[in-house]
Amino acid sequence: MARPKGQSTRTTGGRNPQMFLLILGLAALAVLVLIVVGSLSRSHKAPKTTYLKGIPVDGRTLGFADAPVEVWDYSDFLCPHCREFVEGPEKRLIEEYVKTGKVRFVFKHFVLSERSLPAANAAECAREQGKFWEYHDYLYARQATDSPFPTQKLKAYARQLGLDTSRFDKCVDEGKYFDALMKETMEGYKRGVRGTPTIFVNGTMVPRGMQWSYLKEAIDAALKESQ
């Protein structure tokens, strides 16, 4: 049937407040779902450090003393790329090379800015008590939500890891390792480090070393050389 002119679906158009509100509501709901799902997928529980089992730990060094290759990782706890490295290539490195006695892995501080100092210092305070790696994992797992790590958070992690809190808190409050951290950062700078993470294999910088394929290639070459 022919509709009279001007009376088609027009009346249900944008001037229809109900339809407008419905669309707004649906859009807002969709966005809310996205935000909630996103935040749920980000909430990390306390990280598991079972990967350390069976590996000798000496402060910031992981691995057997007679491993033929040494890998250094210059990192900062506020740097997202460092977290990516820790979650991906680092775990693989530990699993495939450190556990098998081929590589000794050393974490080195490269403090990108003053804002990073408290977290790096706290990691050193945990190292004093033999829990550097546990604390290191904690910082990266919490980076998304807690960065740049206020003091009370740094202290809370230590409690959860079962550290001697009075000793830890004192170490954090006095910034015990600030000078040592700056020294280590300068040392990295002299070696050519300009960003984080920067990876060295047997003292030589590996370009794009944060990517597994490049890192693996460099390690395999160093292993071959050592034979």
Binding site: G13, P80, A144, Q211
Partner: protein
């Protein structure tokens, strides 16, 4: 050109701007390269933050899909026909959702990450302007 034509072209134009920014960020995500970001940019920082993915899916890819769908919804709506207004309403819904989500992401950039990413901000502006025009288009749908 009539104002209506200009408006519709602008809607598709803003969509393409957003599409381009999302496509580039999607590319950098999967190619594992840092986005080019001018002299001092937070692109790499923002893009590698945990807010850049949802359940492992890069937000840039979601944006790319949304801009692609919105482009075709725009074409469907503007080519005329009985269901034109329906498609425009779907487009409006998606555009409003996109704007709200971009608003949230910009908030995260400003107050959580303290860094901005040029492409993210560009697409946020594009989607906001596009939404204004889409709603305008819808409110004026009955006009010749």
């Amino acid at each position: 050109m009539r104002a209506k034509t200009v408006r519709r072209l602008a809607i598709l134009g803003f969509d393409l701007i957003g599409w381009g920014a999302s496509a580039y960020l999607t590319y950098t995500h999967f190619a594992h390269v840092e986005p080019m970001c001018g002299s001092y940019g937070g692109c790499g920082y923002v893009q590698s933050s945990p807010y850049a993915t949802i359940l492992g899916v890069p937000v840039a890819l979601l944006g790319l899909l949304a801009y692609t769908v919105m482009f075709f919804l725009g074409i469907l709506a503007f080519r005329g026909g009985e269901r034109g207004e329906f498609w425009l309403q779907v487009l409006a819904g998606l555009a409003v959702a996109g704007t709200l989500y971009s608003l949230y992401l910009t908030y995260i950039e400003a107050f959580v990450l303290h860094a901005y990413c040029f492409y993210c901000v560009t697409q946020a502006i594009a989607i906001t302007l596009m939404t204004v025009l889409v709603l305008w288009e819808w409110f004026r749908w009955a006009e010749p």
